[in-house]
Symmetry: C4
Subunit: 277 residues, 4 copies
């Protein structure tokens, strides 16, 4: 636990990382608006007719947003006590990934579209508006999914085995009569499209036996779709009875962890003093 | 609480707003039939072959229905004690919106089709037939959805972030080889079509990596569809144990609120005397 | 309660209506096989290439099956004490409907395909094999659905209102630019195809705003699909705890009702003596 | 219970069938990698452009894998006390089926693609990594599905009856105007595609009444999809409260059964001495 507190770093940390003071809230709201605007600019840029007309404005705006976010990323690194920890956290990585593509577009053209990854930064939105209720509900969903992650993985492995085998059988049945089933990987793609009930129709069986088999795959998918739903429903119902975790935006300057109780004065993970309320 | 009761207003209120007397029931049933007929007329009007043949009859009927509903709207405004309150309530707005389009069609052609919004007035149907059972069941659904609205919102935001990122990646992968993915917004449209398992097939990936990615999106959608179902199932099961609200068609003349107990003599929201049973 | 028991009627009733004796079981198994064969014949008859080749055999078989079922229907009417009651019961109507189309095909060609309604007679299959377990499970499903029928009806009405309004708006948006949306009824068809996530793609929006709106409809459908699932899940879980009804094939000769306890000697609905075990 | 233990057989059994010793684990991991590689080779072989280029390498690799798996299958037969029991067990049959197709491809060309059935051998993956948690979760899913198998069967029979009747009616309605509905079996295929919400769009109604009927089928499918989900959700929730079975990789040399407790020294099914820990 570091004993000396640099008041300037303190102040910046409070503004950038937390949203409990007016300055912090103003910063975060501005940030959100910039992120949304920058994502919209990238989207419009990809529309050829608009790019032809406003290409230069889009280019300028893109660089403006990227420079803003670069400065912000620098400040974040500067004001935490352990920059490495922040840089390797989920949001630290997202923050970095959302500025790299613009710089990279000098070297490889097209990469600028990757900055839509900035959209992920919007996940911070719940912190900003102190949407305690939403934070809690989001937590319930996440924990229900985590609690059932083993079941979902087992189920997904089973689905993968199934589509591999079904796709291969379909390839044997249709390959001769139907050009669309031209390889096993493509047939597996068809099996996934069918089993998940998406059903594009870009690949569909034409032989009688192929359609019979496809009908079987669909009915199977019908029964199978019930499994993940059952898993999550059961987990969700379980989760309801559990005590929700504390929901505020307190963030430790030292280890960048959140989830501290309302009355906590020290970080429960590293002992660092938390900002006095 | 207004002390004097105008017996004529009283009578009209009883007939138009409630459905517990023979006259009130007759009025409501007639109204429902008129609404259904007027919606059917609008639908048929949009079929070119029928419009060519019976255009004039449709036009006449449309105006007949609109004039009926305009008179009814006027009476509703007249007989409640606080017309403003009614005008701004859900049904008040729907009632108004369902007469405006016909008048508007003088100015802007095509708007007459908007009067299908009249269909919403049919939501009153449950009141008419004293479908207490249905009122209760409908309430359970609504309350279950309201109870889980925060979770559904969080989930929807997450879906929006996901389709934005998935759509952009798909644009990068397919844009060169596939004309269908001609901009990021269109790719996001594709991602929504795929993730929700609708799968029109108007836009579908053609490159190998694109199909691989699409298969991944589908499997994701498979797991993700379980979440809203889990949320609503859990809420629905919770709701089952709660006490249902009273279900009759008593309606306060003063504040237009409903949901009064069977033995209530005064409005529980404003103290106004309710119609003696 | 009729006091005299005609032993011949008794015997026929036991064979045709029940499946607890070897003769009764043999009769029912034969019947099932005949039904399945006759449905297959109708299906094959509709395939042009097979009809050209084996048309005469199919025609002969169809009449053979129909005559068998007509005799059986006559015997059923003969051996119950109240033929009218049987004739108006669910299976009585199905039994009649499954012989009419062949006779009707003399008058109106094409109607012979309607005899696939015979397939419904297969619902008797559970009785035959004394599939007590299955009878019970089927009952649980049926009762869960019955218990939630009010909710499902309310939900369906809501869906109908929604697709009417969404379809009309889509008609306004797309009608000019897209021939596929040529009338409101067709646009409502599109809305149903989209909201239920079927997504044929025979009708799909082409304008930017149309696709935006369609994306919104899909996300709505995503949330909305959770509702019937939640309703049925909750009902199913409730149903689990209830006591299952008795499951055997005892059938009253007088009122044709089933569901008697294992040790019952008199019909609990009309007092008629049940066949001694 | 055999009294003499052949130490060589003992050793081989420990390595091949169990995964608790370093040698056993190494064997199983190698096996998994070989299986995955061999499945990938078969997939690539089906892509024409790759087959043209690397056909010979693929052929050689395929035989290499098949010979490996043949030796392994021989060893498995050799080291268990009752080879017949193993040969007829689920994994015994899968192991055999995954080597036959290559040999069969001498006689019937094309059958080599069937060896993707090898993918099923990957189900052993959970044993290898001692994924006790996953074994348990997988068991919960399987038992929930087994517990509701009667309900799912009843439901599937009902779906089959429904699509038969709906498909036939659709054939009557569309056959004249729409070439796609050219026989009842094809119309039933359409009904399955629609009811399961897959919706390829390769067959879709074009007449007004046909589209009306299709809309009805979709709304039905919407309600019906809730049933299997409800069944599995209810079963899953039930299963949660039950005690999970023991999860380790102990396997009896005599009867090949698994599922022994951690402290078991004798097989609970045949009394055979289990490998000392």
């Amino acid at each position: 636990m570091p004993s000396t507190l640099d008041p300037r770093k303190e102040k910046i940390h409070e503004i950038i990382f937390e949203a409990d003071t007016p300055a912090g809230k103003f910063f975060d709201v501005t940030l959100m608006i910039l992120i949304i605007l920058s994502v919209i600019v990238v989207m419009l840029e990809s529309v050829d007719s608009l790019e032809d007309k406003y290409g230069k404005i889009f280019f300028a705006l893109e660089w403006f947003f990227t420079i803003c976010f670069t400065i912000e990323y620098g400040l974040r690194l500067y004001c935490v006590y352990r920059p490495r920890k922040y840089a390797l956290s989920f949001f630290g990585i997202v923050d970095l990934l959302s500025i790299i593509p613009t710089y990279l577009s000098f070297l490889i053209s097209g990469t600028q579209y990757l900055i839509v990854i900035r959209a992920l930064r919007l996940l911070r939105i719940f912190r900003i508006f102190k949407l305690v209720q939403f934070l809690r509900e989001g937590n319930i969903i996440v924990r229900a999914l985590l609690a059932s992650r083993a079941k979902i993985l087992v189920f997904m492995l089973f689905i993968l085995l199934m589509v591999t085998i079904l796709g291969s059988i379909m390839y044997l049945v249709e390959a001769g009569a139907n050009e669309q089933f031209d390889s096993i990987p493509r047939s597996i793609y068809w099996a996934i499209v069918t089993l998940t009930t998406v059903g594009y129709g870009d690949i569909s069986p034409t032989t009688d036996f192929g359609q019979f088999l496809a009908a079987f795959v669909m009915l199977l998918g019908y029964a199978v779709i019930a499994v993940p739903t059952g898993i999550v429903s059961a987990a969700m119902m379980q989760e309801r009875t559990n005590k929700p975790p504390p929901a505020n935006t307190k963030s430790c300057r030292y280890c960048s962890k959140e989830g501290h109780d309302e009355d906590a004065t020290h970080c429960k993970y590293c002992g660092e003093v938390l900002k006095e309320p």
